[in-house]
Each structure stands twice: as structure tokens, then as C-alpha cells.
């Protein structure tokens, strides 16, 4: 079995417990306007031009984001870090894009990790088929579950899809007793309205499996990547997120949740 991934990062310290290896699946059903991983959106390999600088000269190199790889190839990379997982209590995080965009490949990898007793986390936008999601639940130890906008109509407007399946999958994961970390991107005027935050807080607080909420202030890193992939910038926001505002939102969440971080 093969899947399309666009990166494997070692030494991930913000994607779950311990020091982790993050596998980035290519392809995402959502088109969030603030997306900072535009190379993760399309399900197909995409070529782009990279510029390598060497002593002042620039070299244009055609590169492909997204390689078709086998389970054993990915496991080879993952297993290299076993001494690190053992010592740090880390493991693998499947991210993207959207890992559930390639459900069979994800499940094969989760099974292979279980076989090697490697801790796994699935970093998901939650938008996936009911059956696929239910099959993934018993295979992973942890969900990093993105929640963006509670109101369906607005969710559709800013991400392109309905929030209903997202909430259903979250509920199912919680019902199965999984540990869940909710991650909320703070995008000024879109996700951080008082109304939306209060709804999201209620949702997060309603599940006992939610161990933590990570607030992820919007940053502009993705902007430079858009033109590389022949896309126009969906949203322009040159400024970083207001730190004081993020702190206030953290306080607000702490009223109902045991642990809240800024930045995860």
C-alpha cells in the first residue's frame, strides 16, 4: 500500500507528548483561508520551484511536494527515532494536510506503529467519513483535534465545508474514551469572536476526554509559500496575532478547562 506524504519532520516538540516524528499527509478536504501549509491542500503531488542560495548565487530547482511512499518506507523513517521516543515518552504524529484524507494508508501506519509499540497521535481537522473515523479511533492513542468555527454557515464560508461531521467525529472519539487535545487557530475577526470562542469553549468542556486546549495564534509564515504553489494568498495578514488578546482568550478558556496553552 502506498500513500502520498509531503514531509517527515523529526524533533517535533509541539505535536503531542515527548519528542515526536511528524508525518505530513498530502491533501486536505478543507480550504481554510488562513492555512499555513498550502502544499498540504491538494491530494496530488505538485511540482514547485525551490531557490537554493550558494555564495550569493541562486539556483532554481524543480521539486515535487508529495511523494508516493510505502508503509514500510515511512516506518523505516519512524523507527529510526525509537531511542528518542523511549527516552522522551514521544512517538509519531500523523498530520497534514489531513491524515484521514488517506484513511487506508493512515490505518496501515497506525497498525504498524501499534505492532512496534510506538505511541501515535492523529492531528486532524475532524472532517472525515463516519466509518473511517470510527475505524481510526481504536488505533491511535491521542487526537490533536482542530476546532475552528462552531457555526455551520460560517465554517462553510471560511473552510469550505460543514462543521457537522467534524462535531460528530469529535463526539465519537470522546465517547470512545480517547484522550483529545483541542486545537483552535486564533484568526482575528474569524475564529476569535466572543460568540465563537464561547461556543467552542462549551464544546471542548463538554467532553471529559479533552485533556487540554491549545490556542494557536495565526502567523504569517504560510504567506511566502502560496506563490510557490501557484496560489494566490487567500488571506493577507502581515501582523502576528496580538499577544495580549491571546492571553485573555487563554484566561477565558481556563474558566472551564483544566489546561490551556498558547502555541501548544
Amino acid at each position: 500500500m502506498k500513500g502520498i506524504i509531503f514531509d517527515i519532520r523529526h524533533f517535533s516538540v509541539n505535536d503531542g507528548p515527548g519528542i515526536r516524528t511528524t508525518v505530513f499527509f498530502k491533501g486536505c478536504p478543507l480550504r481554510c483561508r488562513w492555512c499555513h501549509n498550502p502544499e498540504g491542500q491538494s491530494f496530488d503531488p505538485e511540482s514547485y520551484t525551490r531557490i537554493n542560495k550558494l555564495t550569493g548565487r541562486e539556483f532554481e530547482v524543480r521539486e515535487v511536494a508529495g511523494n508516493s511512499v510505502s508503509v514500510s518506507q515511512v516506518m523505516g523513517e519512524i523507527e529510526k527515532d525509537i531511542p528518542v521516543y523511549d527516552e522522551s515518552g514521544g512517538g509519531v504524529t500523523f498530520s497534514g494536510g489531513e491524515p484521514l484524507g488517506q484513511p487506508a494508508f493512515l490505518m496501515a501506519l497506525l497498525n504498524a506503529c501499534a505492532g512496534k509499540q510506538i505511541h501515535t497521535a492523529v492531528d486532524t481537522c475532524g472532517y472525515a467519513g463516519k466509518k473511517d473515523f470510527e475505524q481510526v479511533i481504536p488505533l491511535t492513542s491521542l487526537f490533536l483535534f482542530d476546532l475552528k468555527i462552531a457555526k455551520d454557515e460560517e465554517h462553510k464560508r471560511h473552510t469550505g465545508v460543514s462543521v457537522t461531521p467534524v462535531l460528530r467525529n469529535l463526539e465519537n472519539a470522546a465517547a470512545a474514551g480517547k484522550e483529545i487535545i483541542i486545537r483552535i487557530p486564533l484568526v482575528s475577526g474569524i475564529t476569535d469572536t466572543g460568540h465563537n470562542l464561547s461556543r467552542l469553549r462549551d464544546i471542548a468542556a463538554s467532553f471529559s476526554g479533552v485533556s487540554r486546549v491549545d490556542l494557536l495564534p495565526y502567523h504569517s509564515t504560510g504567506i511566502c509559500k502560496y506563490p510557490k504553489f501557484g496560489r494566490s494568498v487567500a488571506m493577507d495578514c502581515k501582523n502576528g496575532y496580538d499577544e495580549n488578546r491571546a492571553e485573555k482568550i487563554k484566561e477565558f478558556f481556563l474558566e472551564k478547562l483544566p489546561e490551556v496553552t498558547i502555541g501548544g
Binding site: H10, F11, N14, E87, S88, L216, H219, T221, G263
Partner: protein
């Protein structure tokens, strides 16, 4: 920091580095006027030290708590003309060079011109070395294949053991007299040499006692004249201390520090040994004094901190003696590499971390001085909170403390044949060098330019820089059909130069044993008294000669590029590669791009590249390790560069990994600058592939952004990062916390900083991956210190 310490620290930091003629004049006076030839060489050396200590000025700085300066004032640095005589031209260079310069005033120049140079010219230890060494050695040395540590500085590279804190000069004298009384002239053909060595040790012990008494006298005088009553009382107490130590063993915390400091001064006045000298396991040595006095109420934590800070300043007052030529290139620093060890294990194998360990870490953080250096020994038995505390200090970004693996060090020492007790009393000194403290002479003898050997191999034995046939005649690159043939030729050249270096070592070590014994250093190193032998003649319980490999990362990448492009893929014709190297890649930019960007590199946990590191490591190890030295020691290897990777780079042309001519090589076992693009875990997993236990130390440098440490949760992850490397027997890691200046450089030359990771917002990314605006934002944030 108390106001007193602030003043002392300021004085230390602001004191200009100047050369002092005092020692040179005194040592010349001794040899000129005292008919030294009627004595044996060890006794001559002892009398010379006595003459210096009794004639040198006494310096007691205002506010001081620990007294004694090697020169007449802080940062006034003596010279050692009997080892290495500086010519007027050397003095011009020393005083005018932009880095690591020393002021040379007219008084100094006159003393040299009129007295020192006329007497020592042609009869220094350096002259003896260059007059006695083979031509092949001289050629390889000039080509930059290796350096020689002992051409301008005496062997040292050793550290005080526990005895130094438990015994006074009177105790050592008793041992000497006991050894003298055991001498059997009837049956022992070496009894005479032993007697002379023991006599010499005895003279130096008395000389140091007298030197301390001169301080006591001066302090008494100052106490009488002092108007401020509390300072007068302090001076009086300091005088009492200088009357008790180092003659007797120290009995208080303050006495222990002053006691060590006098011993330190004697070691660095007797000769100019490498790595100055070092109190070693300071938290362990001082803890008995600390805990007892704390319980008795004669010492507080605050007072102990102040005394330690005063002690720290004494080290900082003592820059390394001036170095010139290749010695300056290989070790271009004011730092003299005293490395305080904290943590590790006790003799019985238990966790040695104590309250004082944490206090000393606080002192290190507050003092922020380049000297003394500091490190922690982390054993699997040491608690996480100890490593956490050390990481918090490292995060401050002045490179201290560095992190060492006690369990690997002990394995190294055991595999070298030390007893378990001596191994547990050991540690690392200098940069990363493993040693059994108090019982071992582990003398570093020179850096070895692995990449130069490859360059000479690629040119059939000729050094392309000089055009001379410096190496063995081997076929050049274009005639090799397989990579194995190339490697075989490299190994031949490596062994050839190893033989030349080893041959040189055997001569130089004899010269030191014969002409330059160090009776004082011998006195405090076990078993010199028992054996009646000098430190420089195998008197120590263990004797090791180290050769330092330089550029492991570079040579790995060079061999990888050759194997992949020339042999495995065969897409780069040999001729083209050699032409490109010759042209320093001018006109071959596309090829260079391929070599830099499309070739596996060491430090990414990539099996293709990493196997060459292991291969070179083993070849280098086998070329040197296990050879016997003239005085019962064994030759061993370690991997560290100080600044020699820059010097070696400067004498080596363009290389197959795309490095242009003259650029520095990689340092220690670290990846080539910027070549590790897969993150720090892949670096340590690569680095752990070589067998650290077979070395006497390896150096790994890892860059991190300050923000990474800031986050509370990451502290635990950093501890496990360090412990992962140490679990895999990694010897040492130091954290280079990045400042704004580095980020600016990275923006300008991204290819050199491909490994640079910064924390952006909720995640980390490679700095090179960021758009310019964000790069600027992060630079700004780092400048403001809130990253």
C-alpha cells in the same frame, strides 16, 4: 552579586591583557647567576620555581577574598622563555593582532632585548624540539597535516584530584621524606634519579609555603593600615588563612578555596602547561567543608556564594599565556580551559549531586565569565532537576555549562585500564578530554587534519598547496576503479602520517622528560612521589597521549560525495571533479550546487553518509590507538578542534563536498556548518554511530534558539534529548543558543545555516524556510529578548 563582587568582576573584565616581564627576568636570573649545572635537572627546575616565587611581586587587590596572582596584577601575563622565546617580531605580532592580543610596553621589550633574548636564544625547549625532530615531521607540520601542542607550551592537561583538598604541603613533604627513606641505592639502579626528583618536589613544596607566608605578611600589614574596621578584620582573617594553607590541609570552605588557589598558581608558574590547571570535581571536593560549616553556623549559603564568586574571578584574571604561529592558530583564545566539573558519581558509585552543585550552577549563571569554563557530568543516576537547572543556565547563551556523559566517561576510563574508583573520580577537562583526575597525565599532543590527508590522497601523495610530495606515492584519483581502492589509498596515507606524528611524539616526550621536569605538578599527582618519577616522565599512575582528530563531519561529506557521484552513480567524471577543485569551483558552480545540495550529509541519520564517519573513525583510531609511549603510557584519540578547524581549513584547498578552498572544516564530531537539515535528534543519532567509548572525548555542538528553552514543557523534552544521546554513549553536547547576530548572518548566507531552527509561533521552523518579513520579525524579537 554583592557590591564587592561586582567591583572585582568589573576590574577583572576591564583589566587589559598585558605581558609582564617579571617571571622571564626571574627565571633568567636564576639560570644566569646560580650555577644551576651543579644540580640535577629536576632540582634546577625546583630551584628556578623557588627563585620565581620568592622574587615575584605580591598582588592583593582591593576587596579581594581569595588572594594570589600569577603576574603582578590581574591579566598581567608572564612568559616562559625556557619553553618558548618570543622574538621582537613575535612581540609585534602579539601586540598588534586584532584577536587575542596583549599589550607589550617598552619595559617588557627592553627586558627581552637586553636580558631575556640574549640568554635564551637557541637554548629553549622549542629549539630542542625543532633541532631534534625529523625532516618528514617538519614537512608534514608545515603542510598543516598536524599540529604540535608541546612546541610552545608544556604538557599539562591534568586536573586536581581529591588529595589536593585533603592534604597540605606538610603532608606531601612527609610522603616525600618517607619515599626518600625507602630508597635502596644498593638494589635500585634508578635510586639516584628518584632521589633528585623527590628532592626537587620537596623544594617546590617549601617554596609554595614560603610564597603563601609572604601573602600572610602583606595581609597583616594591610590589616594594620586599614581604616575600615570590618575590612581590617577580614584582612586579618585572610592573613591567618594564608598562614594555615597550603602548609596544612584546609579546614574551612574559605581555606579550601585559598589552598587550591595557591596550588593552582604554583602549577601555572612552574611552567605554562596546557589547560592551565583545574580543581576538577569542585562540588564534591568542597561539599564536606560546606555542609559541616553550614551545620556549625560558621558559614551561610550567601557567604559561600560570595567566596565562590571571588574564586571564579581569580580564574578570569588569568588569560592563557601568549601563543604565536600555529599554536595561536590552533587555539586562538584567552581562555585557558580550566573546566569545573559538577555532578557525576561518588567513588562508591552513588549520585554525587549535592546542594553545593546547585549553588555553583547559580554562581556560574551570575558570573557569566569565559573563565573558568564549566560543565556538568550527567550520569543516569543523577536527577532530572540537576540537568534541568544546568539547561536553564545554558539557555542564557554564553555556552556554559556544557553537558557530559559520566557513564560514557567511566566506560572510557575502564576500557583504558583504570580502576573503578579512579574512573569515578575522573571527568573531562580542557574542551572535552577524558581523564582520571589526580592520577593521570593525559597529554594532548596535536590536532590531526583528516581532510588534508584526503586532499593529499586525491593528488597521489602531493600537497597541491605546496606542490611537494608530502605523502606517500599513491595513484591519484583518476586511476581508482572503485571507492574501496580510493579508501585504501587514504588509509595508507593516514597510517603514514600517523607514523610520522607518533615518531615526533616519542622524541618530544623524551625531551620534556629529560630537560623540563615539573616537580611541583608531580608532587600533587599520584603516584609521582611513590614512584619517584616526574609527571613529564611517566610518574603519574596512568599516562596517556592523545591525538585530536579534526573535521570528521567534513571528511564524511567528502567521502560521501566521492562515493556517490564518482563511483556509485558515476555521473561526475573524476577529471571534472579534480578540475573543479583545482579551480576552487570557479566555472563549476552547478557542480558545486549538486555537491552541496544533492548529496547526503553527516548529521542527518542517513546511513549512506554516516557509514563513512564510522569508517574514518575506525581507521583513525586504529592508526594511533594503543601505541606505547616512551614512559609507559598509551596513545589514544579524541575529537575536538578548539579553533584548529579554521587553521586546517585555511591550509586545505577546495574539497569534494563543495567546500571552497580556505574555508573552515566542521568542528569536533559536529556536522558541517548547516548541513544537518533534519533536526537535532537526527544529529545525535548520527553522532552516536561512532563508538565514543573507544575515544577520550568527542565534541558535539548543537544550535538552539533561546525561545526553545523558554517554554516550560520543553525543559522536560530537552532533558530527554540529552539523556537519549547519553544512553547511546554520546560523550558530550553543548548548546549554542542563537542570538540575533547569528540570525542576521543566516539571512545573509543561508547555505551556511541550513540547520538553524527557530520557534515561530506555536511551532518551530527552519529559519531559511521563512519569508524575509518573518525573518526580520524574528531577528527583531530575538534582539528584544522576548522570543
Amino acid at each position: 552579586m554583592t557590591p564587592r563582587i561586582e567591583k572585582l568582576r568589573k576590574q577583572s573584565l576591564e583589566a587589559p591583557c598585558v605581558l609582564s616581564p617579571e617571571r622571564a627576568l626571574l627565571v633568567t636570573e636564576y639560570y644566569k647567576n646560580n650555577e644551576p649545572e651543579i644540580h640535577s635537572v629536576p632540582v634546577q627546575r625546583a630551584l628556578a620555581l623557588r627563585h620565581i616565587l620568592s622574587g615575584k611581586s605580591i598582588c592583593i587587590n582591593p576587596n579581594e577574598l581569595i588572594v594570589g596572582e600569577r603576574g603582578p596584577s590581574p591579566s598581567a601575563v608572564p612568559t616562559y622563555p625556557e619553553i618558548c622565546l618570543h622574538s621582537p617580531e613575535d612581540l609585534d605580532i602579539i601586540s598588534s593582532r586584532p584577536k587575542v592580543s596583549f599589550k607589550v610596553d617598552e619595559k617588557f621589550r627592553k627586558a627581552y632585548r637586553d636580558v631575556v633574548i640574549p640568554f635564551w636564544s637557541g637554548r629553549t625547549q622549542r629549539d630542542r624540539i625543532f633541532n631534534n625532530i625529523n625532516r618528514s615531521w617538519q614537512e608534514a607540520y608545515r603542510a598543516g597535516v598536524f599540529t604540535e601542542f608541546l612546541e610552545q607550551r608544556a604538557p599539562g592537561h591534568t586536573v586536581a584530584g581529591k588529595d589536593v583538598f585533603k592534604k597540605g604541603m606538610r603532608d606531601f613533604r612527609e610522603e616525600i621524606h618517607e619515599a626518600l627513606s625507602q630508597l635502596d641505592f644498593h638494589n635500585d639502579p634508578n635510586a639516584f634519579e628518584k632521589r633528585e626528583e623527590l628532592k626537587a618536589m620537596d623544594i617546590t613544596a617549601c617554596a609554595l609555603m614560603e610564597y603563601a607566608k609572604r601573602h600572610a605578611g602583606e595581609l597583616d600589614k594591610m590589616a594594620e593600615e586599614e581604616k575600615d574596621a570590618s575590612r581590617a578584620e577580614e584582612l586579618h582573617q585572610m592573613a591567618q588563612i594564608c598562614k594555615r594553607v597550603p602548609s596544612g590541609a584546609p579546614s574551612t570552605f574559605h581555606e579550601a578555596l585559598q589552598h587550591y588557589w595557591f596550588i593552582h598558581l604554583a602549577v601555572i608558574t612552574e611552567l605554562n602547561p596546557w589547560d592551565s590547571f583545574n580543581p576538577g570535581r569542585l562540588d564534591r571536593h568542597l561539599y564536606p567543608f560546606y555542609s559541616r560549616e553550614l551545620a556549625e553556623g560558621t558559614l551561610t549559603r550567601e557567604k559561600a556564594a560570595e567566596l565562590l564568586q571571588a574564586f571564579w574571578i581569580k580564574f578570569n584574571n588569568h588569560p592563557a599565556p601568549p601563543k604565536t604561529g600555529v599554536t595561536a592558530e590552533e587555539s586562538n583564545t584567552y581562555s585557558d580551559f580550566a573546566l569545573i566539573n559538577l555532578g557525576g558519581l561518588n567513588e562508591d558509585g552513588s549520585d554525587a549531586v549535592n546542594e553545593l552543585t546547585y549553588l555553583i550552577l547559580e554562581v556560574i549563571e551570575e558570573m557569566r565569565l569565559v573563565q573558568p569554563g564549566s560543565m556538568i557530568q550527567a550520569s543516569k543516576k543523577n536527577p532530572d532537576r540537576f540537568i534541568k537547572k544546568a539547561l536553564e543556565v545554558a539557555e542564557k547563551g554564553f555556552g556554559q555549562p556544557s553537558f557530559f556523559n559520566t557513564d560514557a566517561i567511566i566506560q572510557q576510563l575502564l576500557s583504558q585500564g583504570k580502576s573503578i574508583t579512579d574512573a569515578r573520580n575522573g571527568g573531562a577537562s580542557g574542551c572535552v578530554e577524558t581523564g582520571a583526575f589526580g592520577t593521570e597525565a593525559y597529554i594532548l599532543t596535536g590536532y590531526f587534519n583528516l581532510n588534508k590527508v584526503l586532499e593529499i590522497t586525491l593528488h597521489g601523495g602531493t600537497d597541491p598547496r605546496s606542490g611537494k610530495k608530502t605523502g606517500l606515492e599513491t595513484p591519484d584519483l583518476s586511476s581508482f576503479k572503485t571507492f574501496e581502492e580510493l579508501y585504501e589509498a587514504f588509509e595508507k596515507q593516514l597510517n603514514h602520517f600517523a607514523e610520522i606524528k607518533t615518531g615526533g611524539n616519542n622524541i618530544i616526550e623524551k625531551l620534556y622528560a629529560t630537560y623540563m621536569p615539573a616537580p611541583f605538578l608531580s608532587l600533587i599527582t599520584k603516584d609521582c612521589i611513590k614512584k619517584g618519577r616526574d609527571y613529564n616522565a611517566g610518574g603519574a599512575r596512568y599516562n596517556t597521549r592523545y591525538i585530536q582528530g579534526v573535521g570528521l563531519g567534513s571528511i564524511t561529506d567528502n567521502l560521501t560525495a566521492l562515493c556517490l557521484h564518482v563511483f556509485d552513480e558515476g555521473k561526475v567524471p573524476v577529471r571534472q571533479l579534480l578540475d573543479a577543485i583545482k579551480a576552487d569551483f570557479k566555472g563549476y558552480e552547478d557542480l558545486r550546487h549538486k555537491l552541496v545540495y544533492n548529496t547526503p550529509k553527516w548529521g542527518n541519520n542517513d546511513g549512506y553518509a554516516d557509514r563513512f564517519a564510522v569508517k574514518v573513525f575506525n581507521s583513525f583510531h586504529d592508526a594511533f590507538n594503543g601505541k606505547s609511549t616512551p614512559y609507559g603510557g598509551t596513545s589514544r584519540i579524541n575529537f575536538l578542534p578548539t579553533t584548529c578547524h579554521v587553521y586546517f581549513g585555511s591550509v586545505t584547498g577546495a574539497m569534494p563536498d563543495g567546500r571552497p578552498a580556505g574555508e573552515p572544516f566542521s568542528e569536533g564530531i559536529s556536522p558541517v556548518q548547516g548541513a544537518d537539515t533534519k533536526g537535532p535528534t537526527q544529529v545525535i543519532l548520527s553522532a552516536a554511530k561512532i563508538d565514543h567509548v573507544k575515544t577520550g572525548g568527542t565534541l558535539l555542538n548543537q544550535k538552539f534558539s533561546p525561545s526553545f528553552f523558554k517554554k516550560g514543557e520543553n525543559a522536560g523534552k530537552m532533558i530527554s534529548f540529552v539523556r537519549t544521546y547519553f544512553k547511546l554513549d554520546g560523550h558530550h553536547i553543548q548548546f549554542n543558543v542563537i542570538d540575533a547576530e547569528t540570525l542576521k548572518k543566516a539571512k545573509k548566507s543561508p547555505e551556511k545555516y541550513r540547520d538553524l531552527i527557530v520557534r515561530v509561533a506555536g511551532y518551530s521552523d527552519y529559519f531559511n524556510n521563512l519569508g524575509e518579513t518573518l525573518q526580520d520579525e524574528i531577528i527583531k524579537r530575538t534582539e528584544h529578548g522576548d522570543m
